[in-house]
Symmetry: C2
Subunit: 125 residues, 2 copies
DNA sequence: TCTCGATATGCACCGTCATACATAACGAAG
DNA sequence: CTTCGTTATGTATGACGGTGCATATCGAGA
């Protein structure tokens, strides 16, 4: 379905990055963490999730670590060992954040498309 | 007036980055270029504008260059020499982009605040 | 014609951040 | 108790982007 975005002016398309930060903390919760949680939910594995997103396991793991610390919330639950080596699943809170951010993003994205169309209708690049 | 943002859940606040890209070009028009144009409009000087934004003149100049090339539009008009060394002003197109992006951003920001409040009302970090 | 401050532009350095690499720990199944 | 794949974590290498610095150009006014 092409991540495209309608072009109003010329070959011009709008992009948006949306994230949340806690009080003084520098670690954000944004699209990256969101995609990561989604991939974990799908695959049941942090390693698989990282691979799916084309990001290193090292980074994915560190990101989650920092985010959980920043939010003060446990997002994932991991198990090690066993035939399959282990797995990673979302906690109830993890799924809550996944859903909330998804909704948040969807709403804003719709608004971005509307605002873009309205604002750049006549601006020819 | 503090870039703050209402906190709905805890010390949580939403942030957004908005930008536009042309067809295949990697050079975006976003908040940075927008602030730069605004500062130029206020000060009448690229050097002063860069200083005001706390960014190096080198970068400010390069950014404008790339953006004008990417958009295929002349945004500024510069003069060199004279008692004051010269100055930089916005072209009619420059001002048009300044205004358009400002409106675009304002609309989206309002929507972000609304969506954030609605989505993260009950999510305690 | 000399001066002064801003525009114009190349280049070397440096901080940041992700990747790559190297291990270690774990534990069910065989 | 050995194997195997995953989680867990430190360290180093490398790409990228901004800063700093150097230098050139310009032109009205003194």
């Amino acid at each position: 379905m092409k991540r495209g975005a309608r072009t109003a002016g010329g070959g011009l398309s709008p992009h948006v990055r949306l994230w949340l930060v806690t009080a003084g903390d520098a670690t954000p919760f944004g699209q990256g963490r969101w995609l990561l949680l989604a991939a974990i939910d799908r695959t049941g594995s942090l390693r698989a999730a990282a691979a799916e997103l084309g990001v290193s396991y090292r980074k994915a793991w560190g990101d989650l670590r920092k985010t959980e610390k920043a939010l003060g919330v446990q997002l994932i639950e991991t198990r090690r060992g066993g035939r399959d080596g282990g797995d990673t699943r979302l906690t109830a809170n993890g799924r809550r954040w996944l859903v909330a951010y998804g909704r948040f993003r969807a709403r804003v994205e719709r608004s971005v498309m509307r605002a873009f169309a309205a604002t750049f209708k006549d601006l020819q690049p």
